[in-house]
Symmetry: C2
Subunit: 153 residues, 2 copies
DNA sequence: TGTCAGTAGATGCAAAAGCATGTAAACTGA
DNA sequence: TCAGTTTACATGCTTTTGCATCTACTGACA
């Protein structure tokens, strides 16, 4: 009765998820203490990071919200604060007058890059000893596939 | 110059991490909306879950804190609230009069199990279509290995 | 045995988060 | 074209979080 591509058991999926989740916690706990996040909270950096990866530069607020774990009102106010710090700029969307688009300012982009460079290095020092090149690639393959395959319900 | 077990490239580790992280965000965002977390916030459930997995039943506060992303004062107060709700109980540690040990109450254990049962099922519905049994096992293997291999610095 | 650095957790206070709701624009379908 | 619904974001208010600091206890060593 064994299939090559069997449906996963409940136990298997939940154990894999728990392991992934605990790993994320372990890494994040260490990351929080790194010096690069004294300047800017990790959640705020995450916003800048997301903005830096947007091809046009401008992103809709609701779209950005989907990539983050915070609520819509919280993001709204976080953007307000980031704007006050001069790190992002906002404008109303052309096609939809309800919408807001935001983008990094020059200063914001510079800060993101500054933190990003250091951070990638620290991350590498932290993680690299744990797995081989090939294993990291497998991990990425699996998490990419998992993320894109999640059922939306 | 190619090794079988080559040291990972910076790019490989950071891309794998980002993929893992984004996957975690995607799953958590969907989880937050599930009905089982109307009763109890996810972070609070996480505390109950951790307690339910402790072999002796009692856990030191600082030990518990290591498994969570919140700060020590926040945990301190969260436990206070959980105690007020009758879900956990606390006592001073025998060997170390500074320390606090906490454990689930009967009510807390019951609630954890109730939420847990439903939650595991929802999680399975959400994730199972994305990967095969074998792939979930690989994913767990890799995340376990990554978590235990993180350099502490 | 007394001092002193280190650790565990609590607490005052300010910042940030979430929930419920408000406002305004966009869609929908008679 | 216009009532009714939905969507995007803002805002009032409460709860939760974090930082800095405090207190109490421990453990090391002179």
């Amino acid at each position: 009765m064994a299939d090559e591509e069997s449906q996963p058991q409940i136990r298997t999926t939940s154990e894999a998820w728990e392991s992934l989740f605990r790993t994320q916690v372990a890494v994040m706990r260490r990351m929080q203490q790194l010096p690069e996040f004294k300047k800017l909270a990790m959640r705020e950096y995450d916003v800048l990071f997301n903005l830096s990866h947007c091809p046009t530069g401008w992103t809709r607020l609701n779209e950005l919200n989907e990539a983050l774990l915070i609520s819509q009102p919280s993001l709204s106010r976080m953007v307000e604060r980031l704007e006050a710090k001069g790190l992002v700029q906002r404008r109303t969307a052309e096609r939809d007058q309800r919408g807001i688009e935001i983008a990094l300012t020059e200063e914001g982009r510079a800060l993101q890059q500054e933190i990003g460079r250091v951070h990638v290095r620290h991350l590498h020092e932290m993680l690299a000893p744990a797995l081989s090149e090939e294993e990291f690639r497998q991990l990425q393959f699996l998490t990419d596939k998992l993320r894109t395959g999640i059922k939306d319900r």
